[in-house]
Symmetry: C3
Subunit: 343 residues, 3 copies
């Protein structure tokens, strides 16, 4: 494909040779002859200048920079959002594997199941009674879907996922392998010297455009619903407790654990391995840094760090002292000595 043709499909203005042949898409360090790569951060300028790529996707000012006094070593496709154009280029060059289509006779499908057009149900999938699948839904090998589940158009469920009863999943949702949706919440009450199990009779609602990683667990509500808001993306091995409500367009990174009844606003970012105590509220656009332990509410727009999590700047100032504590304590002792304190 000529660079000119690629530009027609993904947008952008060409600086250089529009007829150069593009045969693949590659990362900045691995790109070779025929590849198009992308350049979004100035710190990688040297990598671009020494790259063998045939073309690079970049913002205008970057193209100007390397194309000015020092000529750009390759053609440049100038776009507003290089990373987005890179994603689009990947789509152009690499089609997803076709996979199986149609409904396998090795799947088990319950009664009163409604299905839209272009559905794929793979071998060894199980679909419970009274379930509604929209159009272009894929239910992969080894997936279990319980009763009274609804799945919207275009949703893709990877192998060995378990979705229990009374779960509602929106449109264009992606659920990666091994994930469990609708497991019982972790709730007991002490009675007669034993932990008595509190029934979890609620459900789970996954809104449109959510993506859920591999081996994630999302518990059903005690009553009501655990809710994952529209456009939210969840990485692998994340735990979402019962009755949690996550807003829209959040980013929940791998190995985060969210306890029961937590409320999270929109556009929140929880970095890897963060833990959130039960009943906490995290305001919209808040960010919690990796491995932090959230034990109090986080206000809207704030960045929190540490365990317990506190405002990031406060944490940074305190943490920067931590490794120097031995020196400061030594200085304290010297002061004491000079002031005549008996040691």
């Amino acid at each position: 494909m000529k660079l000119r043709e690629l530009a027609e499909r993904i947008g952008g203005r060409i600086s250089g040779d529009p007829d150069i042949e593009i045969t693949g898409v590659s990362g900045i360090n691995d790109a070779g002859h025929g590849d198009i790569t992308y350049f979004a951060e100035k710190k990688y300028l040297q990598n671009i200048l020494s790259s063998n790529a045939s073309a690079v996707i970049a913002k205008e000012e970057i193209a100007g920079l390397s194309g000015g006094e020092r000529p750009a070593p390759m053609s440049v496709l100038i776009v507003d959002n290089p990373q987005y154009a890179f994603a689009r280029a990947l789509e152009v060059f690499y089609a997803a594997p076709a996979g199986l289509s149609g409904i396998s006779d090795k799947a088990v499908i319950g009664s009163n199941v409604s299905m839209g057009g272009d559905i794929s149900v793979h071998p060894f999938a199980f679909i419970g009674n009274n379930t509604a699948l929209g159009r272009r839904v894929t239910v992969s090998t080894g997936v279990f879907i319980g009763e009274n589940v609804s799945i919207g158009d275009g949703t893709f469920i990877y192998p060995n996922v378990t979705i229990r009863e009374n779960v509602t999943i929106g449109r264009n949702v992606i659920i990666h392998p091994g994930t469990v949706i609708g497991s019982d919440g972790f709730g007991y009450v002490l009675e007669k010297g034993a932990h008595y199990k509190i029934p979890h009779v609620g459900g789970v609602i996954i809104e449109d455009d959510v993506e859920i990683g591999a081996n994630v667990t999302i518990d059903r509500a005690t009553v009501g619903n655990t809710i994952i808001g529209c456009g939210t993306k969840i990485d692998n091995l994340v735990q979402v407790g019962h009755n949690v409500r996550i807003g829209k367009n959040c980013i929940i990174v791998a190995a985060v654990a969210i306890a029961g009844s937590v409320e999270i606003g929109d556009w929140v970012i929880l970095a890897g391995q963060v833990g959130v105590r039960d009943h906490i509220k995290i305001g919209s656009k808040a960010v919690v840094s990796g491995q932090s332990g959230v034990m109090t509410d986080v206000p809207e727009g704030e960045i929190y760090s540490g365990k317990p999590a506190i405002p990031h700047k406060t944490w940074m100032r305190a943490q920067s002292i931590f490794s120097k504590l031995p020196e400061y304590i030594q200085r304290l002792k010297e002061l004491e000595k000079r002031s005549g304190r008996p040691d």
Copy 2:
């Protein structure tokens, strides 16, 4: 169902109208007309007073409080343990889905498998040779059970669980989807410049009334058994290493990781994301707070926090200083200046 009838089934004394109709059970904030809810913590008194619930489950003194000078806005079902009565009410109103019964002809069942009455084995389940299943056992879709496994009466195994050979599971155990029991422990010995795998020929014993969350991993012992004691409850995504022994009625919250050969007493609580080093002993009734790293033994009844975990009170006092370190260091420097230290 009239409140009177509910009281007959779950116990309690009615203050108010025993003939009021109860049509559902709900949380304190979502309860509407026809719902019964519960009230266990005084901080939620205002929520109850403004609730539209038709009835509330509460302790006597609470009923008196709101029914005294200020009349209770709804009927009250007076019980000793409101949360327990709430759990019972959920059971009355919401039956678990019936699920499939009988043994699917799409399951594979090995030789010399004994089964008690009322067993359910769902499609695509696999049961190995020389396995014994008690009465009322459910083996869901996609479950793998290896050879020489024993499962007690009333145990429920959710979809896509893997139970390897030589595992013994007691009565009324619940195992949530995606969980793995009896994987090899993580043990190697360095020999000739490579990690040589130590065979794990032991087993796992899960005692009665244990509940194990989704996507949990419980490794088999090198020799002997990894043991989960009677009544212990394990949340999602927990790792239990080889030869670990957990006592009775423990609570192990999500994302805890317990290394090999750890010994945990009875009634221990490990909060979310706790890590426990290998060969550690944690005494009965000890509590470890979330994200702590247990690197030394924890005595019976103690509360530990931090990494490394230390007594909670000590940790709290030290941690309360952490965010003020910059201020204290500033004060130290001022003292030095006044005492003439060259900066």
Copy 3:
């Protein structure tokens, strides 16, 4: 089996009775009459001296110690590496369960699948098109293998594993149940007010002799490959992000989370629950202690601890002060008082 015969099979020199009958292998505390156990750490000398084991595997000097003034209470098999000899003894006494052999007619196998000899494919396994399986490969129940996957000789895949398309797995690899290999990396770019998914068109390469625990997740690369080097061992519930490169013979303990594009050298040890930020480099033979958060590169051979992770000795010195902070702050305040600071 006589001790003499065991020594012939696993090596070593006998001190004591070569004709004593050995009927099993056991840990140091559980060993009874007929058992052989092993002794590798001096702190367990008393346990050996009071053991009922019929024989013990030990290093020469240890045998000398207990066989000198104080006679060894049992026969000793003298070897260079007792733990290795113990592993070999376990292999001699405990054969792995034979499992199913051959290709089940309840498996689904795609087109253009090549298979070496002695392959086992169990019921409800699914093998995609254009896949190559070497000799003595086992594909267990409920395993999904996508298209264009290659699996080397002697590799064992436990139940309910998901391996997506374009994954290359070497020889003698072990993959424990529930693990997911080749899930999409976690990558989005903000475009028009939404998270736009970056396609992940790369693959995963698992080299020879790798072992991967249960419920692990290893994401595929955006472009190129995520790589797990030869001989590396990964424990349960570990997350490996897209484009990560792990070297040879590393030990990655349970619940570690490694973000995208991290580069890890050879012989690295990441202890339990460690988190590693994206694009970090960890040099060969480095060690990171449990629960640490790696936010800067770790040089070759260094030991790092804490969050953010710093050299272990620095962390230890600072951490040893942490619990005494209240006392030091008190002493600071006393100094201030004596120096006349207004409080």
